[in-house]
């Protein structure tokens, strides 16, 4: 394929977004300051939301923003502010830990690449233009999540709900216990 053919708007947007995602991810791992790591993670999460939006998965994009960027990252920042001493760099990681981390990340990368090359069907991969046909209907998502028929997911949905409820009750119990001890 010619270089000029690759320069479609879709590809350019994809490359820009991936650059943001990769740079954010790398920087959030490499930086020494915890708060900076949270900020770079924010860039990564927003970039991924942008990728979803680019693929017309609007529901996923909004969920990514509200759950990860708005919710979980906020929790991280709260935790850092409450626990971490302001402005101090995190401890440098020992050599042994670095070795284990290198082994873990290398094997993870090998696993992903191997799966891609063995099972991935690059020849029949839909062209970059094809995945932006139409947005996923919100009604379809709703009925799929809350239906009981084939390929519908009421049971996992309810199970997740019960799990979250258990988490809330657990948090309440822990919070109450501390009060009694005082």
């Amino acid at each position: 394929m010619e270089i000029v053919e690759l320069l479609t708007a879709n590809n350019i947007i994809f490359v820009l977004l991936s650059m943001v995602i990769l740079a954010g991810g790398l920087l959030s791992v490499l930086t020494e300051k915890l708060m900076h790591a949270a900020f770079y993670l924010f860039l990564t999460l927003v970039g991924i939301a942008g990728l979803y939006l680019h693929m017309n998965y609007e529901f996923l994009a909004a969920a990514q923003l509200s759950v990860y960027a708005g919710g979980i990252l906020m929790l991280f920042i709260f935790a850092i502010v409450l626990v971490h001493r302001i402005g101090e760099n995190s401890e440098s990681v020992s050599c042994k830990k670095k070795g284990w981390a290198a082994i873990a990340s290398f094997s993870g990368a090998v696993l992903v690449l191997a799966t891609l090359f063995i099972y991935g069907n690059f020849a029949n991969c839909p062209a970059a233009d094809a995945f932006t046909e139409s947005e996923v209907n919100m009604k379809l998502i709703g009925t799929t999540l809350l239906g009981t028929g084939k390929n519908q997911y009421l049971l996992p949905f309810e199970a997740t709900g019960i799990l979250l409820l258990a988490c809330i009750i657990g948090a309440l119990v822990i919070a109450n216990k501390e009060k009694e001890e005082k």
Binding site: K33, M35, F59, A62, S66, I77, F78, V81, M138
Partner: protein, 359 residues
């Protein structure tokens, strides 16, 4: 009658006729839309600043700004020029990266929300299938900027302000979302265009008066609390925290927070107007054909901005009338009063809609 959407179609046809390449037309249109939104954003902030100063003066039995221009309306222009020329004072011992990134995150969150609104018939930036959910999702980004600003200033007051703001916004977001969900149940769609269409017959507040009214009151309180304005202005609390999370900012970096605050005021009122009061739809009652026809003569953007201004006025009224809440009163209000009410409201709305007991 000339509508705003006609002007937009006219610009599109003019560009398409004169520029052969389709991508160039699209590019120019994207840039124009972006510039239009930014200009509108700044103009609305300017207008709201003078509006609030005048209203506040009225509530406090004084005149307000009255030197620059007739009734002092150019005071805000002078202030704008001043803030643009002010020096951005660099601080020692703060976190430079986060300190300068924070205002941009705040303004980004509020601009993204701004793009999802519908200003008049056929005038909107994006029209997603998930409309309301998109608005709620992107408006939750700003708070990260506030937290980063408070933390990176390396100042006790700003950190306390940021923590308070975080706790407050996260709590009140719940009620705001839940009260909107009730309206989504009534409409059967999250898409703002669909919502506008189904309000053409009758506004949502009249379609199911009781739950819609409860929802609207809850939404207005929660949205008001999310903008960190009095009586919920604990994060800023000038008498105890000087100015909260933006105390160390100067010049245009402070200006970003300031403009963001006023535009969030507008955005919250606009969402309230769109979801509860029919947005740009004129006041219609089924059966009164003559009345409906008269109402149709008022342009849709006048309806939208009129309703939004009404809600903004309500918000200012509350701000300048009530004393500041304590933090425990604030959290009590959200978790023990508003949250149960909004959960009950969703149930009530679901029962009404399921039985068809709506107008």
């Amino acid at each position: 009658m000339l509508q705003l959407s006609d002007i937009i179609t006219w610009i599109h046809e003019f560009l398409s006729a004169n520029i052969p390449a389709e991508w160039a037309v699209k590019l120019i249109e994207y840039v124009l839309v972006g510039l239009g939104f930014l200009t509108l954003y700044a103009l609305i902030a300017l207008f709201l600043i003078i509006f609030e100063r005048k209203i506040c003066a009225y509530f406090q039995c004084r005149l307000g700004p009255n030197r620059v221009g007739p009734w002092g309306i150019f005071q805000v222009i002078a202030d704008m020029v001043k803030i643009l020329l002010k020096e951005i004072i660099p601080l020692k011992h703060n976190d430079k990266l986060l300190y300068y990134a924070a205002p941009f995150i705040v303004i980004m969150g509020s601009l993204l929300t701004f793009g999802g609104l519908q200003f008049a018939k056929g005038v909107h930036g994006v029209d997603f299938n998930i409309g309301v959910f998109y608005l709620l999702a992107v408006s939750s980004i700003s708070i990260i900027g506030v937290m980063l600003a408070g933390w990176s200033s390396n100042n006790k007051y700003s950190l306390i302000g940021a923590m308070r703001s975080g706790a407050q916004v996260i709590s009140f977001e719940l009620s705001a979302c839940l009260s909107m969900m009730a309206m989504v149940i009534l409409c059967g769609s999250m898409n703002l265009s669909d919502m506008m269409e189904s309000q053409g017959r009758l506004w949502f507040i009249f379609q199911a008066p009781i739950p819609a009214f409860i929802g609207m009151v809850i939404y207005l309180i929660a949205a008001h609390a999310e903008t960190n304005r009095g009586p919920f202005d604990l994060p800023e609390a000038e008498s105890e925290l000087t100015a909260g999370y933006h105390v160390e900012y100067s010049g245009i970096t402070f200006g970003f927070f300031y403009v963001g605050e006023y535009c969030n005021l507008f955005i919250n009122a606009a969402i309230g107007a769109l979801v509860f009061l029919g947005g740009w739809q004129p006041l219609h009652f089924p059966g009164c054909e003559g009345f409906n026809a008269v109402m149709d003569y008022i342009p849709s953007c006048v309806w939208f901005f009129g309703k939004t201004l009404l809600l903004i006025f309500l918000s200012l009224w509350v701000r300048w009338s009530f004393p500041r809440l304590r933090i425990d009163q604030l959290l009590h209000l959200e978790w023990k009063i508003m949250l149960p009410f909004s959960l009950f409201n969703i149930l009530l709305m679901a029962v009404l809609v399921a039985n068809g007991w709506v107008f």
